[in-house]
């Protein structure tokens, strides 16, 4: 039955109320529901220990599911062994077999499944060409650079022509440059093969650039599932807002008073009013570093420059609020270069700001208009 469905290529992955409790009573994943469509590229992000790997390993069959159901291609696989799920997995450490050549590494799985030699040869050769590692086929893993090893790991996954790719931080051992490069490559290959892919990372840049949809986990619980731009533009809650975007969003605690549909936002460093009918109370205000401008743009924060980091194309400013209580990061044009100790008013447009309630949930301000300066 499973096999039939696989032939039909229906390989959406569905998690229904899945939980995982480890032997020692660690609750790693809690009541997670998620549907990954056929051919979709989903990236799972979250801080260390949030349950990303656990989720992936449950899908792979390497961990048992404590509660809930996992289905691949519509069929529940809770009790199907990893070797029978027709998945491929790329590990953070690549997990290449150190004693086998690249060719042997890539053909190992096919050989076990009893493919014909020429069939194997052909598929391995194709994959090697796709990954541009054809001239490394007889090397041992330790003779390869990190990037090359990564490609081999990918190749090993590809040749098996699986229904689902699972990748657990496949790029985290690479240096920044290679990472960027491999990012594009993985995307290209996934698009080419059109295989359902679940990709785990704790690097939000990878999530932003690669995903059709991002799945954000924290403490084993789902925070948001949405396309990257949406997570960036409309984070569900304060956690997502802080997690997505680099450098992180700046947060300020503010008190809001509401007088007839006009809300006044007030804290030690900020004060402005705008047309918005929200309940009075304590809120968190979020502004992304790249949304700051060098002039008062309706709202502003008084700051003192601490460090200026020229990044070539722009400058990062590290500043402290005027009363020294908080560090603020801003990303500005490379032509704007204040000196250490300069006092500047860091402006932002109120339509760029984010607002979170005391429970951390996003508060929509549809009615926000261009603010009037206070």
């Amino acid at each position: 039955m499973i096999a039939m469905l696989l032939l039909l290529g229906m390989s959406e992955v569905t998690l229904s109320n899945v939980s995982k409790v480890y032997d020692d009573n660690v609750l790693a994943v809690e009541d997670l529901s998620l549907a990954v469509e056929d051919g979709e590229f989903v990236v799972v992000v979250g801080p260390s220990g949030c349950g990303k790997s656990t989720t992936l390993r449950m899908i792979a069959g390497l961990e048992t599911v404590t509660d809930g159901e996992i289905a691949i291609g519509g069929d529940v696989v809770n009790d199907v062994r990893p070797q029978d799920r027709n998945i491929a997995m790329v590990f953070q450490s690549y997990a290449l077999y150190p004693h086998m050549s690249v060719r042997e590494n890539m053909s190992f799985g096919l050989r076990l499944s009893g493919e014909y030699d020429d069939q194997i040869e052909q598929r391995v050769t194709e994959a090697a060409e796709l990954l541009e590692i054809s001239d490394l086929m007889d090397d041992l893993p330790k003779q390869l650079s990190g990037g090359q090893q990564q490609r081999v790991a990918l190749g090993r996954a590809i040749v098996r022509d699986p229904d689902v790719f699972l990748m657990d931080e496949p790029l985290s051992n690479l240096d920044a440059k290679l990472r960027t490069q491999m990012r594009t490559e993985i995307q290209r290959i996934q698009e080419e093969l059109d295989v359902t892919t679940i990709y785990v990372t704790h690097d939000q840049t990878e999530a932003m650039t690669m995903a059709d949809r991002i799945v954000i986990l924290n403490h084993g619980e789902l925070q948001q599932v949405a396309p990257p731009e949406r997570c960036y533009d409309k984070p569900n809650n304060k956690f997502v807002a802080g997690f997505i975007g680099s450098p992180s969003m700046n947060f300020f605690e503010v008190s809001v008073t509401n007088s007839g549909g006009r809300a006044t936002f007030q804290s030690a460093a900020v004060e402005f009013t705008l047309d918005a009918d929200i309940p009075e109370g304590e809120y968190t205000l979020g502004v992304r570093p790249e949304d700051f401008v060098a002039e008062d743009a309706g709202a502003y924060i008084e700051t003192v420059v601490d460090v200026v980091e020229p990044m070539g194309s722009d400058n990062f400013l590290y500043l402290e609020t005027a009363n020294g209580s908080k560090e603020v990061v801003a990303r500005v044009d490379s032509e704007y270069r204040p000196k250490r100790g300069d006092e500047i008013a860091l402006g932002f447009h109120t339509e760029d700001m984010h607002l979170f309630g005391p429970d951390g949930k996003r508060v929509e301000l549809n009615q926000i208009q261009r603010t009037e300066s206070v």
């Binding site: 792979a60 069959g61 390497l62 062994r81 990893p82 070797q83 998945i87 491929a88 997995m89 590990f91 953070q92 450490s93 997990a95 077999y97 150190p98 004693h99 190992f108 799985g109 076990l112 499944s113 090993r156 098996r160």
Partner: protein, 281 residues
Amino acid sequence: MTMAGHDRSSLRKVRLYGVLIALLGLMMLPFYAMFSSTLKPESEIFAAPATLVPSDPSVQAYLQVWTQTDVLLWVGNSFIISVGTVVLTLLLAIPAAYSCARNDFVGKRTFLLSVLVVQMFAPVVLIVGLFDVITQMGLFNTYLAVIVPAAAFTLPFNVWMLYGYFKTIPVALEESARIDGASQLQILTKIVLPLTKPALVASITYTFLYAWNRLLFVLTFLTDSAKYNIPRGVFSMVGALQTDWRMMLTVSVIGIIPLLILFAFLEEYIVAGMTAGAVKE
């Protein structure tokens, strides 16, 4: 200035080699005593005081030893016994060590510790009981009569050593193989064991030498002279009335040669195996 630097480093080298050679000399002295005596005529061996350098060295002993003793047979038997012990020990130790390295289960600590307990009895102390076991199993006067107890006494070290090494092999490799469709046995034979090579070599060396060097079991459980190993053979040459020292030492020297060859080939692995196995565990 640069000269001074060179002087310092070459001085360090001289000192290093000096110490090494002195140590080697110290360690080699008994071996030298053995070897040089094989080149002396019988009467000179008993010169008092001993002659440090054979006055008239001759390889006569090495020509005679083949006909006067069963040295070839003994070497052969030593190999049979040592290889048998290695095989039996590994067959038992590998699964046990692997299981302990990969699983956390009640009784694991107890198992590992009680394995160690075996080492705390001198074989000679248990020999009476072992004798019963060996005869009950019907092994008396067979090679197994030596192999079985030798395996029992080498098992502890092997289990511990392999246990330490298995723990250094990333689980991800095995998971990867599982996803690739490998069975448990295939994972062991195709992935884990090939990677355990250094530890296996160290293990094998230790076990091989244990069986190679041990006299007691052969002395007690093998009375058939056609099954003697080298130490037993050498001991059969010690007589109440007369001991042919020259032949005896010649046999001993010949017995070392296969091991020297083994050492020379495996030294790197032995160290590497111990590094991960015995050291990191």
